[in-house]
Symmetry: C2
Subunit: 367 residues, 2 copies
């Protein structure tokens, strides 16, 4: 599929939802990607299944606190600088790039590099949504190495990381993102085509585009964008369940930038006597409780959206008084496997509960 500049806004809208509140506000990433495609022309989006075994494909994305990303702007060359260095290290050209996470601005990040380098983007990603930490990528869950990885910053600094330990890699990269001002670009988990085919989450880029388009079309047709969103998500096959959990007004918000993350919680007062919903986040929304009862939890998606426009409100954009709907969606099946829940389930975030799937939660006993 040829991605024209005009399609990027749909991608941004869909990736915003899939970010579960994180992955960075898509706005600046959209501007950068639009500028890149204007400069270089359309980018090819190729199916994951089309990769040959020995292709070199590389995930791209930003690491850091989204609260910083909206204030400290990129220079636009970070991704290419990192990818070119990786080519030098590996002694070969990169055949294609992909988003390390489809969610938020990171869903658009590889399009800048793809346009500038003249390579395609693979229709897949490493998280099926957005997660706050590098080792939460499916590639770590499946035992692949994050390294060599390359971290680049808007000041021009470049660092290469090599370690066999993907948790140490996250710790090192996180501290670099802090030292570099709170946000940096990283290329990591360089993959062979065979590895990508076996482990990446297929179809997530086109799923984001379809989801974003559905919201846009529903708005234009004066239909309910939330219904259109749910239908589009189900149609992707990747996100089989979706429901609107809550409808209300933000009445309290605690948020701080700590340890390289944006962490906190938000409280929403329901309209029509629905009670209250509290959502905890670490870059991404992690768990939603309604009057103490869990309604959704990681790795399932929880996204807070403007209740009129269905625009996603990322965690760094939350404000007192916003009128919102909270929408949850089932995570892709690969993230709900036992081996994945070790890294991306509620206990990985110290939430004190086992994972219960969104579609089972309303009948399950939880508190």
């Amino acid at each position: 599929m040829r991605i024209e500049r005009a399609m990027l806004a749909d991608l941004a809208r869909g990736a915003g939802f899939l970010g579960s509140g994180g992955g960075g506000d898509p706005y600046y990433s959209l501007l950068l990607a639009e500028a890149a495609l204007k400069r270089r022309g359309p980018v090819e989006l190729i199916p994951l299944s089309s990769l040959v075994d020995d292709a070199l494909v590389v995930p791209c994305g930003w690491i850091g606190a989204p609260t910083v990303s909206v204030e400290k702007l990129p220079n636009g060359r970070e991704a290419v600088a990192g990818l070119r260095r990786l080519e030098t290290i590996l002694g070969r050209r990169i055949d294609a790039v992909l988003p390390i996470e489809i969610g938020g601005g990171n869903g658009l990040a590889p399009f800048v590099a793809a346009a500038d380098m003249g390579v395609p983007v693979v229709d897949c990603d490493g998280m099926g949504r957005a997660f706050p930490e590098s080792q939460m990528a499916i590639f770590n869950i499946r035992g692949l190495s994050a390294c060599p990885s390359v971290v680049t910053a808007s000041c021009g600094a470049l660092t290469v990381i090599e370690t066999d330990d993907n948790l140490a890699h996250e710790r090192i990269a996180r501290s670099l993102s802090v030292a570099l001002g709170g946000i940096a670009h990283m290329v990591e988990y360089p993959l062979s085509g065979a590895q990508a085919r076996a482990h990446a989450i297929a179809g997530s880029v086109s799923a984001a585009i379809a989801t974003g388009a559905a919201i846009r079309e529903a708005r234009a047709a004066r239909q309910d964008p939330f219904e259109a969103l749910a239908e589009a998500l189900r149609a992707t096959g990747l996100y089989p369940h979706c429901k609107t959990l809550f409808d209300g007004k933000i009445v309290d918000l605690e948020r701080e930038t700590r340890g390289g993350f944006s962490v906190g919680n938000v409280i929403i007062d329901g309209f029509g006597g629905q009670g209250r919903m509290e959502i905890e986040f670490q870059n991404e929304n992690l768990i939603a409780r309604q009057d103490g009862r869990i309604r959704a939890m990681v790795p399932d998606l929880i996204t807070i959206m403007d209740r009129e426009t269905a625009d996603t409100i990322t965690t760094e954009r939350l404000k007192y008084g916003q009128r919102v709907k909270v929408v949850a969606a089932a995570a892709p099946a690969m993230l709900r496997e036992e081996s994945a829940l070790r890294f991306v389930g509620p206990r990985a975030f110290r939430l004190g509960t086992d994972f219960i799937a969104l579609e089972n939660l309303d009948t399950a006993e939880t508190k």
Copy 2:
């Protein structure tokens, strides 16, 4: 000069003094260097003036908090791993190594790599003592780039840093040292032979050996080791003034590991009604005040030593009740130039005073 294993203890003793309390306790570095020379034989110490213009010579040393270095032991391969990677990056072999700082354990660090790689150590260093931060090296003062640099850790993690900004380089390397557990090895400021000849502090390794030998010999002959130390330092030509500032007992000590440094201050009660001396440190001793009057300050050396043996007590080894002498020495002339004081003078450490040389302080009005 051929450095035999038996000479390393003198080097450790002398480097201990030149560390001004920092550079890491020489004990473990001595064990590692002795083991390396036992394994591989003696190491050549070559004069700085013997380097050909296009030689590649590389400073080595540990970065981090000395308080951590005495608890988290190296695996012994950190320096070689970093140097080998630098060779790959630069596409050529390293001709010789040198200590980034002669002070403390870092004065011995390059001997491990030199023995294992079969290259000589150059009789020079980058600080003429020890300083807590990377940009305090003479190579930064003289406008050379720290990068590419390679940080390696005992866990096997390796990171390459590239930036034109040596202050950013220090910030990045410091945060890496923290992420890697508080201490890491770094090769930085790769130099041509011509650059090393123009800017390195010549003769500091042999000065450390001579100083350490003088203390040992004085002890064996039951002479005053402090007099022997002062005489040996003056004889080097590098450290033209030396005096014992104070003699007393440690009665108070505040020390914490913060931001990747060991910081604090120590109070010494004088014997024979001398009053009190307070010394502030950031890895290294920075300023010594006797009853409020400044007696010595960076970049001049201030070292706290056991009052009987003249063994250096590095800042992380200070303890309540130790009976000590405080010895100060004039820094090498290159460190007292105006351009150097910007980076290593008292204002670089926010000490609120201009630099006054040790030999002028007792007559100057200070408080």
